[in-house]
Structure formats: structure tokens, C-alpha cells
């Protein structure tokens, strides 16, 4: 299906991407607005970025968010990969359908329910709320996203590679680390990145499970937005968008290059 694009398809793509990108673009443009009013252009300025650096509360929140995101996505990647292995590799076991249900449900579960239920758990067991409860909550809901990403790689994984390693005398545990893991690593890494972004992004679950002293960046932004829209928020948003764009674009260019190299090699091999 790779004909040239018809006018209908071009229109759909142009309108679709305009809809997706214009709001973000405007947000970025207005972060450089000299005027205090967000919607009226008062000339180019970077003053709001300077103001960011002096806003201790915001920087604190950013630091908390990064720590939570890093720690939770790390644990979620390990747990999610294990869940994916359990679901694809080990056939039937007791309570498997309950397990797969619990793995897929958080993907669509309304955040208010997840947040409330986790809060009530933390209260019931008397866990002091703050950094650690947010981290636990984030591990729980992001590990399911990791599981789905890794699982979709594992189902297309050629099992005979693992069998070949076993056959050549390599025990199962070692086989996982020297054969399976290196080959599913791209999926594990994108699972980690997904978990990291979801954790960075989360407002509702963090609001429920937080305690005094642990305010995340989305919570800080949210409370400022409720008080009124300011260019300063545009500035912090632009910084976050910039970081994400650079990382994602860089990652996809790297994979694209690798694929192109691989394709060239394969063509060269076929020509033998």
C-alpha cells in the first residue's frame, strides 16, 4: 500500500497534524512573550525562563518529580519485564487470567480510582505518605505499560534462539541475560522511557498518594494554572517539551539508522 498520496490523504494528514501541533507551537511561542498577559503578544523576551531559575518551589517540585520518575520507572521496568515473561513464557499457572487481567486493567483504569484506592491502602497499612508512596503508586501503574510493550516484543521473539542456547549448554538463567535480554532490550528501553514519561506526567495519582513535603511538578503546575495562566508556566512547559522532543527524536533517528544499516547489510549478503 505505498502509492502516492491522494488529495484526501494529504488533507487528512495536514489537518490532523496541524490540530496536534498548533496548540503546542502556540504555547512555545507565547513562552517568549514579554507581556505578563499570556494571550497578548508584547514582544520577544526570555525573562520567564530567568524567572524559572529563581522559583525555588518549582525547582524543588521538578527535583522530586525526576527522582520519583527515575526510581519508579526503574523498578517498573524490572517488574513489567517479569510480568511480560510470565505471560508469554510460562504457559498456564494458577490464577493466570487474574494476573493478566491485573496487568491490562491499569492501562485503561480511570486515574481517580487508582489514586483513591492506593491512598486508602497506604492509610490502612499506616504508611507515611510522601515521596515513597508516590513512587510505589507510580511503579504499580507504569509497570503494566512496560509489560505490554515488552510482551509485544516477546511474542514475536524466535523461541528457537533460546532453545539453541540451552541446547549448546547454557543454563536458563544465563540464557535470559546473554540471549533474550540483549535482543528485547530496545523494547525494555522504550518501556522504561514510557514509564518515566507517565510518571513525570501524572497529576491525579500523585495528588492522591502524596503527603506533606512531596509536591511534584504536575501538582505545582496544576495549582498555578488554577490560579491563572502565566507565561512562566508556558516557559516551564516549553522546557519539558524541549527535553522530551530532543530525547525522542534522537532515539528514533538512532533506531532508523540502525535499521537502514541492517537493510544494507542484508542486501549485500543476498548479492553473494
Amino acid at each position: 500500500m505505498s502509492k502516492s498520496l491522494s488529495w484526501f490523504n494529504v488533507t487528512a494528514l495536514v489537518l490532523g497534524f496541524a490540530f496536534l501541533y498548533i496548540p503546542i507551537l502556540l504555547l512555545v511561542i507565547y513562552s517568549f512573550n514579554a507581556s505578563r498577559l499570556v494571550t497578548i503578544w508584547g514582544g520577544f523576551s526570555t525573562q520567564w525562563y530567568g524567572a524559572l531559575l529563581e522559583n525555588e518551589q518549582l525547582l524543588d517540585a521538578a527535583w522530586v518529580t525526576l527522582r520519583v520518575a527515575f526510581l519508579s520507572s526503574l523498578v517498573a521496568t524490572v517488574l513489567g519485564t517479569m510480568a511480560a515473561l510470565a505471560l508469554t513464557r510460562y504457559g498456564r499457572f494458577f490464577g493466570r487470567s487474574l494476573f493478566s487481567g491485573m496487568t491490562y486493567a491499569p492501562l485503561v483504569m480511570p486515574e481517580v480510582i487508582t489514586g483513591l484506592s492506593l491512598l486508602l491502602l497506604f492509610v490502612a497499612i499506616g504508611l507515611e505518605r510522601g515521596f515513597w508512596t508516590i513512587t510505589l503508586a507510580h511503579i504499580t501503574f507504569t509497570m503494566c505499560f512496560v509489560a505490554v510493550v515488552v510482551q509485544s516484543r516477546l511474542v514475536t521473539f524466535d523461541r528457537s534462539l533460546e532453545e539453541a542456547a540451552l541446547d549448546l549448554g547454557c543454563p536458563p538463567f544465563k540464557t535470559f541475560f546473554i540471549i533474550t535480554l540483549p535482543l528485547i532490550l530496545p523494547a525494555v528501553v522504550s518501556g522504561f522511557m514510557l514509564a518515566f514519561t507517565l510518571s513525570m506526567d501524572d497529576l491525579v495519582i500523585a495528588s492522591f498518594t502524596t503527603g506533606p513535603g512531596a509536591t511534584t511538578l504536575p501538582m505545582r503546575i496544576y495549582s498555578q494554572v488554577r490560579m491563572g495562566v502565566t507565561p512562566e508556566i508556558n516557559a516551564i512547559c516549553t522546557v519539558m517539551i524541549g527535553i522530551v522532543t530532543v530525547v525522542v527524536v534522537f532515539a528514533s533517528i538512532m533506531t532508523k539508522r540502525q535499521e537502514a544499516q541492517r537493510k544494507r547489510d542484508e542486501q549485500a549478503a543476498a548479492a553473494h
Binding site: N9, L13, G16, L26, T39, V112, L120
Partner: protein
Amino acid sequence: MATAGEKGIGRLFVIAVPYLWLLVLFLVPFLIVLKISLSQDVIAQPPYAPLLDLSQGWAGFVDFLSQLNFDNYVYVLDWNNEFLDAYGSSLIIAAVSTVLLLLVGYPIAYAMARAPRTLQPTLLMLVILPFWTSFLIRVYAWIGILSQDGLLNQALQALGLIDAPLEILNTDLAVYIGIVYSYLPFMVLPLYAALEKLDGTLLEAAEDLGCPPMRAFWLVTFPLSLPGVAAGCLLCFIPAVGEFVIPDLLGGSDTLMIGKSLWTEFTVNRSWTASSAVAVLLLIVLVVPIVIYQNIQARQLEAGK
């Protein structure tokens, strides 16, 4: 693979760790929510009657049962308390948004799937990229566009299309725009996945057998993309029903959505028992679509595609 070596401790460990984690941090919390929704409010910390006290043995269990009451459900299901309206309006807003998402997302996914192969990865990345940026930021961006003196009204007035600014922000319309905008990647991706798999020769066969392109679309392409349509719709509908941030930031004070009601009940009215009842009822409303979604997800992932 059922070899002797694999049935050992490694297998048990890999299954048990995530399993126990999800049991303790996903399933047990729901049971607690269920229990608290059946408890009475007390002025204490925590503000509800105690959970099951196992130290009392059988008597404690009988006591536990006798303490269950449905007052919170009576409260939530009372027409005067707006929760029923909120459930209804959430379902309607989510359903309408899902239809809008399908109408917007299908042409995009279709155009992507028919684009030149070399262009497709780039297009795919362009759809996914906004998803990586913060949800909150994307909703926030619309405040500046939709507000009374916002960019949209400025543009429309400058073009002379309207005289007085339109009131869009703080209405249901803004909520629809916000949901369609934020959830669009969730709709486009499953649709693209289904359309991209479609064998181009099927359409050629249909045309070869005398079917004009438009009819070929309805007779071949669309039916074969239905799994993608189902996945995309559920992936958008279910979280949209419980959405909190979008109605809170873009909707008006009269925009009723159950996620917002739950949040208000919890943070403003501080009734943990009533918010638990709201959550349980929300889950009951969503249980059918969630189960359907899980089945689709499990089938897709476990069948190996």
C-alpha cells in the same frame, strides 16, 4: 517449553514477584475501597470505621458483617446529590468524544497507512511525539487558545467572522475539544496498526472483481479494520469516563463529570466513604468495557499477532 529445568525456582520467582506486587497494590486496594464504601463516616483519623479486625476471630467477622451498611450508596444514588447526573453526563461526554475521535482519527490513520512506506515511520513518530509531552501541558495549551480573549477568538475577530468573542472555555465544547485532542494518539495508533496490516492486494482483488474504490473501502477495508476500531474506541472511552483534569481545567462549573465529582467529594467534602462508593459505582459502570478491552488486548498480545 516444559523442560525440567524451567519449572524450577526461576519460573516461580518471575511469576510470583509481579503477581504479588499487583495483588497487594492493585487488587487489595480495590477491596479496601469496597469495604470503606460500606462503612460509616467517623470523625477520626482515618475518617471511617475500622477495617476487618481479625484478632476478634469469628465474632469479629460477624461484627464486621453487621457493620456493613449501604448509606453511602443511598447518598450517592440520591437524585438530589447530582452524582447520577454526573455518571450520565460522563458516559455521554465520553461516548460523544469517542465518536468524534473516530471521525477525526480514522482519516489520519488511513492516510498514514497509505502513505509511502519510507514516510510511515516519520508519520508514526509525529503522532506519538505529542503523547510523550505532558498531558497537563497539552490541556493547558488550550486554555490560552479557547479563553474569552484567547487566540482563537482573536483570530476569528481579526478575520471578521464574529463580532463578539465566543464563550468556549468553561463549556462542554471545550471538554470535547480537550478530550479529542489529548486522546487522539490512542485512537490513531490502534487504527493505524489494523490498517497497516491490511494486504494491499485485497483491494486490488476487489477492484479487479468490479468493485469501485469507495465500495471497496466499505466492503473490504473498513470491516478488516474493525478490531482496530474496537481497540481504539475502548482505549479512549474508558479513561474518558473517569477523566478529571480536562473537565476541571477546560469545563465550566456546570460541566458534570464523575471523575471531577469524586475528586470534589474527596478533597472538598472530605467524605472518604462516599468517594469510595462513587469509585465502586464507576467501576461497575466500566466493568463491561474493561473486560472487553482486556480480552482484545490479551488476544492480540498472546496470539503473537
